[in-house]
């Protein structure tokens, strides 16, 4: 295993750990969005404030919303993966690099 590979694996494992640890140790939370928490804070600071605009289209529920978020991630992941695949194969099949 090359040195780079080690760094890559350590980074990914660490990243996954950091994401999972809160889930293991905080049980009394649904991990709602921080912007929801901000809405509550605004309501506490400034009870008279009313949101004066609504989103044009709002997904009807969590399922549709997660669909759209998945779509966003899939689009990004697909394009990124395509680029990476192109670069990897270019290196693999170029004679110059192989010598």
């Amino acid at each position: 295993m090359t040195k780079n590979m080690k760094i890559v694996i350590i980074c990914l494992v660490l990243a996954a750990l950091i994401a999972v640890v809160p889930l293991l140790f905080i049980h009394d939370s649904e991990f709602g969005g921080a912007d929801g928490a901000a809405e509550e804070a605004i309501a506490a600071i400034d009870p008279d404030y009313e949101a004066w605009a609504d989103p044009l289209i709002e997904p009807p529920g969590g399922e549709t919303e997660s669909l759209l978020f998945c779509l966003q991630a899939a689009l990004g992941g697909g394009v990124f993966g395509f680029g990476m695949g192109y670069l990897i194969c270019r290196k693999k099949y170029s004679k110059k690099e192989q010598e």
């Binding site: 295993m1 090359t2 780079n4 590979m5 890559v8 694996i9 980074c11 990914l12 660490l14 990243a15 996954a16 950091i18 994401a19 999972v20 640890v21 809160p22 889930l23 905080i26 009394d28 939370s29 991990f31 709602g32 969005g33 921080a34 912007d35 929801g36 928490a37 901000a38 809405e39 804070a41 600071i45 404030y49 949101a51 004066w52 605009a53 609504d54 989103p55 044009l56 289209i57 709002e58 969590g62 919303e65 997660s66 759209l68 978020f69 998945c70 966003q72 991630a73 689009l75 990004g76 992941g77 394009v79 990124f80 680029g83 990476m84 192109y86 670069l87 990897i88 270019r90 290196k91």
Partner: protein, 249 residues
């Protein structure tokens, strides 16, 4: 060569990450919500963003005409922002937030380019996902697509000056750029909603507690992922990175 092995490891790692993060895409998170900034501030932040956006358009045009070869990397950086800003990750405060992904592109293509890419992502989320908003687009653009990338770029330059290892520079740039984005979000909200008791500072403390503290572990994750992506690009995209001035001269 370990190349095919490398590919397989990367693929497996990718699947593992996807399995971890995939099921977590629930509930709202991040960006200032539609309608939660008074009109004056919406206009103010929108106006501040315009010059950056125009500079970004020119910067991308320059990339397209003068460094056409690097276009694929620019597209990949955009895709990277798409992926990262869709991942809502649980944090130590018991709420979730998502990384921004704009720091890495800023290091490679300069911070202005990321302004345009950030606007595209924010528009997508505001229009289709009811996440962020059109009235708050300016404020969110400023925090995620201007302040964050510029700080990330600055951090990377400083690390380069100090001859720090490239990976460390990338890590710090992506991590601090991410964190800074949410500090700016907190400042923007505190300016618009000063507390009747403690004023701006009391509100700022409140919003910092919500956004910045939640973001700390996520910023570290973004830094780590950025290092992984750069390691991959360093091995497979040498010509492009050299042309961008990241490698070599």
């Amino acid at each position: 060569m370990t190349r095919s092995k490398t590919e397989r490891y990367l693929f497996i790692a990718g699947v593992v990450v996807a399995l971890f993060f995939g099921p977590m895409a629930v509930s709202n998170a991040m960006h200032i919500m539609e309608g939660y900034l008074p009109l004056g501030y919406c206009v103010l932040w929108g106006a501040v963003c315009v010059p950056f956006f125009i500079a970004g358009l020119f910067s991308i045009k320059r990339t397209v005409t003068q460094h056409r070869k690097t276009l694929i990397l620019l597209v990949m950086m955009g895709a990277y922002v798409f992926v990262l800003s869709a991942l809502k990750i649980p944090s130590v405060t018991g709420s979730s937030s998502h990384p921004t992904g704009t720091g890495l592109g800023a290091v490679l293509f300069g911070p202005a380019s990321m302004c345009v890419i950030g606007v595209i992502v924010l528009l997508f989320q505001a229009l289709l996902l009811a996440h962020g908003g059109l009235t708050t687009l300016g404020a969110n653009t400023f925090s995620m697509a201007i302040a964050g990338p510029f700080l990330a770029y600055g951090v990377f330059l400083v690390c380069k000056k100090l001859h720090a290892p490239k990976s460390l520079g990338i890590f710090l740039a992506a991590c601090l750029g991410d964190l800074f984005t949410y500090c700016i979000t907190a400042v923007q909200l505190a300016m618009a909603h000063p507390s009747p008791v403690g004023g701006f500072t009391a509100s700022l403390a409140e919003f910092m507690g919500i956004f910045a503290v939640t973001q700390i572990p996520l910023a570290v994750i973004e830094g780590l992922v950025a290092v992984v992506v750069m390691k991959a690009l360093e091995s497979y995209a040498k010509p492009e990175l050299t042309e961008l001035g990241y490698l070599g001269v």
